[in-house]
């Protein structure tokens, strides 16, 4: 058996396969399809200091090879999350990564502080959601703002901090470097790409929010490119995502320089995807006689 475990800022994952925030709830729904014990980590849906109702519907729309979503970070708030979702995930032998959202720097810090003494392994700071008016992507499209919020969050964080980057920027390496300077332990990318769909018969937007975030296989080439660029720009590890639907896809990200990968939209198409990616990666390593997955990280230069 080849070695599948990887290390993210001191946290050892049994394998590099995680879930992408917002596509896997807090794991309960998908636990009916996959054994969460087999995953490297579960990354939860973004959680804020208070419950958020999210956007009006329609919130999702299909696009060629992908989808748009404008959920708008609906979440039950950090209190319910700590009482209900963390205990649920604790029953499994997998790492728990909490995705944090907010409108202001204070909101983010409040949630991060609240999680300091909870049994969670890492925090992922979502400064790249294109579907909310305040917060979100505003921090993620400006390197100075990104560095500043990273510094603030790090003051309160007891767990390693992952900064989640937006692909809606001219230069992703500038953003990754800003996160690194701010003290981020890990960067994850990509969040969704802002898109729009118009219903020509009704002469209106397909999403109530007008724009939404594009995800799924259609965005994979952009995601792989950005992971490759970031891997050559910063020293901290990278969690790669964007369109991963198979072990082959996941390996593209690893070879481009990601230490771990997340499966998002593909869960909706096939709820067994995460498990299949783990199995497929193991099979690839065996077949190609690679002893340790770490040997493949960034091997394509």
């Amino acid at each position: 058996m080849s070695k599948m475990s990887v290390n993210l800022a001191g946290v050892t994952l049994k394998n590099p396969v995680m879930t992408a925030s917002g596509t896997f709830g807090s794991g309960a729904e998908y636990s009916e399809f996959v054994d969460l014990n087999h995953l490297g980590a579960v990354v939860t849906k973004g959680v804020a200091n208070v419950p958020w109702p999210g956007n009006p519907t329609p919130r999702v729309a299909e696009t060629t090879g992908g989808m748009l979503n404008a959920i708008g970070l609906q979440n039950p708030g950090i209190d319910v999350f700590c009482e209900r979702d963390i205990p649920f995930l604790q029953k499994y032998d997998t790492k728990i990564i909490v995705n944090v959202c907010g409108k202001t720097t204070e909101d983010y810090c409040e949630v991060v502080e609240r999680l300091a003494n909870e049994p969670v392994d890492m925090l992922e700071i979502n400064v790249s959601c294109p579907n909310v008016k305040e917060g979100g992507i505003a921090f993620g499209q400006n390197p100075k703002a990104l560095e500043a919020i990273t510094k603030e969050v790090k003051k309160y964080a007891k767990q390693p901090v992952i900064m989640k980057l937006s692909p809606n920027v001219t230069d992703i390496t500038e953003m990754a470097r800003a996160a690194e300077s701010g003290g981020a332990d890990v960067v994850s990318l990509i969040n969704t790409i802002t898109g729009m769909k118009i219903d020509i018969n009704r002469r209106t937007f397909a999403l109530a929010n007008k724009t939404g975030g594009m995800s799924g296989p259609a965005v994979k080439p952009v995601a792989v490119r950005m992971v490759y660029q970031v891997a050559n720009a910063v020293k901290i590890p990278i969690i790669g995502m964007g369109g991963i639907a198979s072990a082959e896809d996941a390996l593209e990200f690893i070879m481009a320089g990601a230490t771990a990968v997340s499966v998002g939209t593909a869960n909706f198409i096939n709820p067994y995807t995460t498990q299949e990616v783990v199995d497929g990666m193991e099979a690839f390593l065996e077949k190609q006689k690679v002893e340790d997955i770490n040997q493949l990280i960034g091997c394509v230069k």
Binding site: S31, F33, P58, N270
Partner: protein, 260 residues
């Protein structure tokens, strides 16, 4: 692991039963065995460009054979449903299910029940009618052409409304109720939003409980993505906001629980 599975099913038969309306029987391994009326399945296209599932209600459930019947409308050219309509016997199709809660038959046992369906909301009422032990009145609304109406007639009384007046009452299902002076203790309904709104108002006025099956755009179909919410009148116990997930908390809701 639960009773919901994604499995590759085989088309047993398919026929066109009206303009753009198709009826397909599918052989499943486990989905039919676990299914209830009012539940639905996510149907996947074989086109790598069309990734999201198409939610389709169960029109009939044959537990013995492990078979399901889906009756669906082809919504246009180059759509996923058009692709489904091309599949003949022996073709394969991926389904995820059974999904959602289904109609609470126990709430209607032995009572006088309206089973109301409008347009492509008609199909799920058929299995519901078949499994229900009650005094059943199907009230079915169509634009013009009827479908499935004769199959309902085998299971109880049927009242028809058509928009163009070509059959039954000219108008909608509410008009059919009035014209036939029908009364019921419970309502189960599925159809377009304006119809559900009218039914909800009628049920409130009459003071009778009414369950309605809702529709929303979906991605996961199992309650994880929060794509398909509808507004709830009270703060929901799962979401902790005024949202309920149509795919998981529904698609069937007590009409007073949700905003329409």
């Amino acid at each position: 692991m639960g009773t919901k599975v994604k499995e590759t099913c085989t088309v047993i038969s398919q026929e066109c039963i009206g303009k753009d309306i198709y009826s397909m029987w599918l052989q499943t391994k486990t989905i039919a065995g676990n299914a209830k009326p009012g539940q639905f399945v996510s149907v996947y296209t074989q086109d790598g460009g069309k990734l999201l599932p198409r939610p389709i209600s169960l029109c009939e459930i044959d537990k013995e054979k492990g078979a399901l019947r889906l009756v669906y409308r082809v919504t246009g050219k180059h759509t996923g449903t058009e692709g489904f309509s091309r599949l003949g016997a022996g073709a394969q199709l991926d389904l995820l299910g059974p999904l959602g809660n289904g109609f609470p038959l126990e709430e209607a046992e032995g009572k006088k029940v309206f089973l109301m369906g409008g347009g492509i909301g008609v199909p799920p009422m058929l299995e519901t009618m078949k499994q229900l032990h009650a005094q059943k009145m199907a009230v079915l609304g169509y634009r013009d052409e009827l479908f499935l109406d004769k199959e309902f007639a085998k299971n109880g009384d049927v009242y028809i409304a058509t928009e163009d007046g070509s059959a039954g009452t000219k108008g909608n299902v509410m008009d059919a109720i009035r014209e036939n002076a029908l009364e019921a203790d419970v309502i189960f309904a599925c159809g377009p939003k304006p119809m559900l709104r009218a039914i909800k108002a009628y049920a409130l006025e009459k003071g009778i409980p009414c369950w309605i099956s809702m529709e929303e755009r979906m991605a996961c179909g199992i309650g994880a993505c929060l794509g398909c919410v509808c507004q709830s009148t009270e703060v929901d116990s799962h979401s902790h906001v005024h949202n309920k997930r149509v795919c998981k908390d529904g698609p069937v809701f007590l009409s007073t629980e949700v905003e329409l």
